[in-house]
Amino acid sequence: MRPIKKYLILTLLLGLGSILPTLQAQTDLQISKVFDQYGERKGVVMVEMTDEMLNGYDFSLFKSLTIKDNPPAADFIRKCLVKDQAGAKKVKQVVTNGVATSIYLQLPRKGQLYRLILFNEVFNPEEKITLVYIESKNDSEDVLKLILKKK
Protein backbone atom coordinates (compact mmCIF):
# COMPACT_ATOMS: atom_id res chain seq x y z
CA MET A 1 0.00 0.00 0.00
CA ARG A 2 1.31 3.44 -0.91
CA PRO A 3 2.35 5.62 2.03
CA ILE A 4 -0.14 8.37 1.21
CA LYS A 5 -3.01 5.92 1.27
CA LYS A 6 -1.76 4.52 4.57
CA TYR A 7 -1.62 7.97 6.14
CA LEU A 8 -5.04 8.83 4.79
CA ILE A 9 -6.67 5.68 6.11
CA LEU A 10 -4.94 6.02 9.48
CA THR A 11 -5.96 9.63 9.83
CA LEU A 12 -9.54 8.88 8.87
CA LEU A 13 -9.76 6.02 11.33
CA LEU A 14 -8.25 8.10 14.11
CA GLY A 15 -10.55 10.98 13.41
CA LEU A 16 -13.64 8.83 13.25
CA GLY A 17 -12.62 6.80 16.26
CA SER A 18 -12.20 9.87 18.39
CA ILE A 19 -15.37 11.65 17.41
CA LEU A 20 -17.95 9.00 16.68
CA PRO A 21 -18.55 7.91 20.28
CA THR A 22 -19.38 11.47 21.30
CA LEU A 23 -21.48 12.25 18.24
CA GLN A 24 -23.49 9.10 18.19
CA ALA A 25 -23.83 8.46 21.90
CA GLN A 26 -27.59 8.61 21.91
CA THR A 27 -28.38 6.97 18.60
CA ASP A 28 -27.48 3.51 19.88
CA LEU A 29 -30.36 3.74 22.32
CA GLN A 30 -33.97 2.80 21.81
CA ILE A 31 -35.19 5.99 23.46
CA SER A 32 -33.83 7.98 20.53
CA LYS A 33 -36.85 6.58 18.67
CA VAL A 34 -39.13 8.13 21.27
CA PHE A 35 -37.62 11.56 20.71
CA ASP A 36 -37.86 11.07 16.95
CA GLN A 37 -41.45 9.85 16.99
CA TYR A 38 -43.03 12.08 19.60
CA GLY A 39 -40.76 15.13 19.77
CA GLU A 40 -42.61 17.34 17.35
CA ARG A 41 -46.16 16.24 18.09
CA LYS A 42 -48.96 18.23 19.64
CA GLY A 43 -49.31 17.87 23.37
CA VAL A 44 -45.59 17.22 23.63
CA VAL A 45 -42.72 19.37 24.86
CA MET A 46 -39.28 18.38 23.69
CA VAL A 47 -36.13 20.17 24.74
CA GLU A 48 -32.63 19.76 23.39
CA MET A 49 -29.65 21.59 24.82
CA THR A 50 -26.00 21.05 24.07
CA ASP A 51 -23.02 22.14 26.13
CA GLU A 52 -25.13 24.07 28.56
CA MET A 53 -24.81 25.02 32.15
CA LEU A 54 -28.29 24.64 33.52
CA ASN A 55 -28.54 25.90 37.09
CA GLY A 56 -25.34 24.17 38.03
CA TYR A 57 -25.75 21.16 35.78
CA ASP A 58 -22.95 20.84 33.28
CA PHE A 59 -24.46 18.89 30.42
CA SER A 60 -22.89 17.98 27.12
CA LEU A 61 -26.33 17.01 25.91
CA PHE A 62 -29.69 17.37 27.54
CA LYS A 63 -32.85 16.06 25.96
CA SER A 64 -36.23 15.91 27.54
CA LEU A 65 -39.70 14.97 26.49
CA THR A 66 -42.90 15.71 28.35
CA ILE A 67 -46.06 14.06 27.11
CA LYS A 68 -49.50 14.49 28.56
CA ASP A 69 -52.40 12.04 28.40
CA ASN A 70 -50.83 9.57 26.04
CA PRO A 71 -50.77 6.06 27.56
CA PRO A 72 -49.57 4.41 24.29
CA ALA A 73 -46.52 6.71 24.36
CA ALA A 74 -45.84 5.67 27.94
CA ASP A 75 -46.02 2.01 26.94
CA PHE A 76 -43.70 2.63 24.01
CA ILE A 77 -41.19 4.41 26.25
CA ARG A 78 -41.31 1.59 28.77
CA LYS A 79 -40.61 -0.94 26.00
CA CYS A 80 -37.66 1.13 24.80
CA LEU A 81 -36.37 1.43 28.34
CA VAL A 82 -36.53 -2.33 28.80
CA LYS A 83 -34.17 -2.69 25.83
CA ASP A 84 -31.89 0.12 27.00
CA GLN A 85 -31.75 -1.38 30.48
CA ALA A 86 -29.82 -4.32 29.09
CA GLY A 87 -26.58 -2.36 28.95
CA ALA A 88 -27.29 -0.18 31.97
CA LYS A 89 -24.91 -0.25 34.92
CA LYS A 90 -27.39 0.64 37.55
CA VAL A 91 -31.17 0.71 37.56
CA LYS A 92 -33.53 2.44 39.95
CA GLN A 93 -37.15 1.63 39.49
CA VAL A 94 -40.42 2.45 41.18
CA VAL A 95 -43.35 0.23 40.39
CA THR A 96 -46.86 1.43 41.15
CA ASN A 97 -49.73 -1.00 40.69
CA GLY A 98 -47.48 -3.28 38.67
CA VAL A 99 -46.39 -0.55 36.28
CA ALA A 100 -42.96 1.07 36.31
CA THR A 101 -43.63 4.74 36.96
CA SER A 102 -40.12 5.87 37.69
CA ILE A 103 -36.97 4.52 36.11
CA TYR A 104 -33.41 5.86 36.37
CA LEU A 105 -30.78 4.25 34.20
CA GLN A 106 -27.06 4.84 34.41
CA LEU A 107 -25.74 3.75 31.05
CA PRO A 108 -22.22 2.65 30.25
CA ARG A 109 -19.90 5.48 29.33
CA LYS A 110 -19.60 6.34 25.66
CA GLY A 111 -16.16 7.80 25.14
CA GLN A 112 -15.71 10.45 27.80
CA LEU A 113 -19.40 10.87 28.39
CA TYR A 114 -21.50 9.57 31.26
CA ARG A 115 -25.07 8.94 30.25
CA LEU A 116 -28.31 8.91 32.13
CA ILE A 117 -31.90 8.14 31.27
CA LEU A 118 -34.59 9.31 33.63
CA PHE A 119 -38.23 8.41 33.21
CA ASN A 120 -41.14 9.42 35.33
CA GLU A 121 -44.87 9.04 35.01
CA VAL A 122 -47.46 10.70 37.21
CA PHE A 123 -51.22 10.31 37.11
CA ASN A 124 -52.33 13.23 39.30
CA PRO A 125 -53.73 15.66 38.39
CA GLU A 126 -53.30 14.26 34.87
CA GLU A 127 -51.23 11.60 33.21
CA LYS A 128 -47.83 13.11 32.49
CA ILE A 129 -44.75 11.34 31.23
CA THR A 130 -41.29 12.86 31.50
CA LEU A 131 -38.31 11.33 29.76
CA VAL A 132 -34.87 12.86 30.18
CA TYR A 133 -31.64 11.85 28.51
CA ILE A 134 -28.39 13.36 29.74
CA GLU A 135 -24.81 13.17 28.55
CA SER A 136 -22.23 14.72 30.80
CA LYS A 137 -18.53 14.66 31.42
CA ASN A 138 -19.32 14.56 35.12
CA ASP A 139 -19.96 11.26 36.83
CA SER A 140 -23.56 10.23 36.20
CA GLU A 141 -24.03 9.45 39.89
CA ASP A 142 -23.06 13.04 40.78
CA VAL A 143 -25.38 14.40 38.11
CA LEU A 144 -28.22 12.26 39.42
CA LYS A 145 -27.60 13.39 43.00
CA LEU A 146 -27.57 16.99 41.86
CA ILE A 147 -30.85 16.61 40.01
CA LEU A 148 -32.59 14.89 42.87
CA LYS A 149 -31.25 17.42 45.36
CA LYS A 150 -32.52 20.39 43.40
CA LYS A 151 -36.16 20.07 44.29
Binding site: I4, Y7, L8, T11, L12, L14, G15, L16, S18, I19, T22, L23, G39, E40, R41, K42, G43, V44, V45, M46, V47, E48, M49, T50, D51, E52, L54, N55, Y57, F62, S64, L65, T66, V94, T101, S102, L118, N120, V122, K128, T130, V132, I147, L148, K149, K150, K151
Partner: protein
Protein backbone atom coordinates in the same frame (compact mmCIF):
# COMPACT_ATOMS: atom_id res chain seq x y z
CA UNK B 1 5.63 -2.26 -18.84
CA UNK B 2 5.12 -0.54 -22.16
CA UNK B 3 7.04 2.46 -20.85
CA UNK B 4 10.03 0.33 -19.97
CA UNK B 5 10.05 -1.21 -23.45
CA UNK B 6 9.93 2.20 -25.03
CA UNK B 7 12.78 3.51 -22.94
CA UNK B 8 14.89 0.58 -24.01
CA UNK B 9 15.03 1.99 -27.50
CA UNK B 10 18.70 1.99 -28.50
CA UNK B 11 20.43 4.85 -30.28
CA UNK B 12 20.58 2.79 -33.47
CA UNK B 13 16.88 2.02 -33.34
CA UNK B 14 16.15 5.66 -32.55
CA UNK B 15 18.25 6.79 -35.52
CA UNK B 16 16.34 4.36 -37.72
CA UNK B 17 13.00 5.66 -36.47
CA UNK B 18 14.11 9.29 -36.93
CA UNK B 19 15.04 8.47 -40.50
CA UNK B 20 11.66 6.85 -41.03
CA UNK B 21 10.03 9.89 -39.52
CA UNK B 22 11.79 12.29 -41.85
CA UNK B 23 10.86 10.04 -44.76
CA UNK B 24 7.26 10.20 -43.67
CA UNK B 25 7.10 6.44 -43.20
CA UNK B 26 6.84 6.21 -39.40
CA UNK B 27 3.67 5.00 -37.75
CA UNK B 28 1.94 6.71 -34.89
CA UNK B 29 3.24 4.12 -32.42
CA UNK B 30 6.78 4.57 -33.66
CA UNK B 31 6.53 8.33 -33.29
CA UNK B 32 5.32 7.91 -29.75
CA UNK B 33 8.26 5.58 -29.09
CA UNK B 34 10.57 8.16 -30.53
CA UNK B 35 9.03 10.90 -28.48
CA UNK B 36 9.60 8.87 -25.31
CA UNK B 37 13.16 8.21 -26.34
CA UNK B 38 13.78 11.92 -26.89
CA UNK B 39 12.46 12.68 -23.42
CA UNK B 40 15.33 10.75 -21.88
CA UNK B 41 17.95 12.84 -20.13
CA UNK B 42 21.61 12.78 -21.13
CA UNK B 43 20.99 12.21 -24.81
CA UNK B 44 23.79 13.18 -27.20
CA UNK B 45 23.57 16.67 -28.68
CA UNK B 46 22.81 15.27 -32.12
CA UNK B 47 19.24 14.64 -31.00
CA UNK B 48 18.59 18.27 -30.03
CA UNK B 49 16.82 19.09 -33.29
CA UNK B 50 14.52 16.09 -32.97
CA UNK B 51 13.93 16.91 -29.33
CA UNK B 52 12.73 20.36 -30.41
CA UNK B 53 10.56 18.88 -33.15
CA UNK B 54 8.96 16.34 -30.85
CA UNK B 55 8.21 19.01 -28.31
CA UNK B 56 10.71 17.85 -25.76
CA UNK B 57 10.60 21.25 -24.14
CA UNK B 58 6.83 21.02 -23.93
CA UNK B 59 7.18 17.65 -22.33
CA UNK B 60 9.56 19.17 -19.82
CA UNK B 61 6.90 21.70 -18.99
CA UNK B 62 4.44 18.88 -18.70
CA UNK B 63 6.76 17.06 -16.31
CA UNK B 64 6.89 20.18 -14.18
CA UNK B 65 3.13 20.12 -14.22
CA UNK B 66 3.22 16.53 -12.99
CA UNK B 67 5.37 17.68 -10.09
CA UNK B 68 2.76 20.31 -9.36
CA UNK B 69 0.22 17.51 -9.23
CA UNK B 70 2.22 15.74 -6.59
CA UNK B 71 2.27 18.94 -4.54
CA UNK B 72 -1.43 19.16 -5.01
CA UNK B 73 -1.75 15.59 -3.89
CA UNK B 74 0.07 16.42 -0.66
CA UNK B 75 -2.09 19.49 -0.29
CA UNK B 76 -5.13 17.24 -0.68
CA UNK B 77 -3.74 14.93 2.00
CA UNK B 78 -3.22 17.92 4.29
CA UNK B 79 -6.75 19.11 3.55
CA UNK B 80 -8.21 15.71 4.37
CA UNK B 81 -6.19 15.57 7.61
CA UNK B 82 -7.48 19.02 8.53
CA UNK B 83 -11.00 18.06 7.64
CA UNK B 84 -10.85 14.88 9.70
CA UNK B 85 -9.29 16.58 12.71
CA UNK B 86 -11.09 19.90 12.64
CA UNK B 87 -14.22 18.88 10.73
CA UNK B 88 -15.89 17.04 13.57
CA UNK B 89 -15.27 20.03 15.83
CA UNK B 90 -16.99 22.23 13.27
CA UNK B 91 -19.74 19.65 12.96
CA UNK B 92 -20.22 19.58 16.72
CA UNK B 93 -20.22 23.37 16.87
CA UNK B 94 -22.74 23.48 14.05
CA UNK B 95 -24.96 21.13 16.00
CA UNK B 96 -24.54 23.01 19.24
CA UNK B 97 -28.05 24.22 19.48
CA UNK B 98 -30.60 24.81 22.12
CA UNK B 99 -34.21 24.54 21.17
CA UNK B 100 -37.54 23.19 22.22
CA UNK B 101 -40.61 21.92 20.47
CA UNK B 102 -43.80 22.91 22.20
CA UNK B 103 -46.91 21.41 20.65
CA UNK B 104 -44.98 20.89 17.43
CA UNK B 105 -43.72 24.47 17.24
CA UNK B 106 -40.01 25.16 17.42
CA UNK B 107 -38.87 27.57 20.09
CA UNK B 108 -35.33 28.95 20.08
CA UNK B 109 -35.62 31.52 22.84
CA UNK B 110 -32.98 30.35 25.28
CA UNK B 111 -34.94 31.48 28.35
CA UNK B 112 -37.97 29.49 27.28
CA UNK B 113 -35.82 26.48 26.40
CA UNK B 114 -34.10 26.59 29.79
CA UNK B 115 -37.38 27.01 31.56
CA UNK B 116 -38.79 23.92 29.79
CA UNK B 117 -35.64 21.96 30.58
CA UNK B 118 -35.84 22.89 34.24
CA UNK B 119 -39.52 22.00 34.29
CA UNK B 120 -38.79 18.51 33.02
CA UNK B 121 -36.00 18.12 35.56
CA UNK B 122 -38.45 19.29 38.20
CA UNK B 123 -40.83 16.51 37.16
CA UNK B 124 -38.05 13.99 37.65
CA UNK B 125 -36.89 15.33 40.98
CA UNK B 126 -40.46 15.49 42.28
CA UNK B 127 -40.72 11.76 41.71
CA UNK B 128 -37.93 11.34 44.23
CA UNK B 129 -40.20 12.87 46.85
CA UNK B 130 -42.86 10.33 46.02
CA UNK B 131 -40.34 7.58 46.55
CA UNK B 132 -39.10 9.08 49.78
CA UNK B 133 -42.65 9.59 50.93
CA UNK B 134 -43.39 5.93 50.24
CA UNK B 135 -40.25 4.89 52.06
CA UNK B 136 -41.14 7.17 54.95
CA UNK B 137 -44.53 5.53 55.16
CA UNK B 138 -42.96 2.11 55.17
CA UNK B 139 -40.58 3.12 57.95
CA UNK B 140 -43.29 4.76 59.93
CA UNK B 141 -43.53 2.43 62.91
CA UNK B 142 -46.74 4.03 64.09
CA UNK B 143 -48.41 3.21 60.83
CA UNK B 144 -47.18 -0.37 61.01
CA UNK B 145 -48.41 -0.69 64.58
CA UNK B 146 -51.80 0.68 63.56
CA UNK B 147 -52.02 -1.82 60.74
CA UNK B 148 -51.00 -4.69 63.04
CA UNK B 149 -53.59 -3.61 65.56
CA UNK B 150 -56.28 -4.51 63.09
CA UNK B 151 -55.20 -8.14 63.36
CA UNK B 152 -54.89 -8.16 67.14
CA UNK B 153 -58.48 -7.03 67.62
Amino acid sequence: MILKMKYKLSYEEADRLIEKYYDGLSTGAEEKQLQLFLMRSGLPEKYQAEQAIFGYFDQKKERKHIRMNSYMRWAAVAAVVLLVVAGPQLFVTAHTSNYAYIDGKKVSDIREVRSQALASLGDISSSKDEVQESLKNINDTKLIEQQLDVFSK
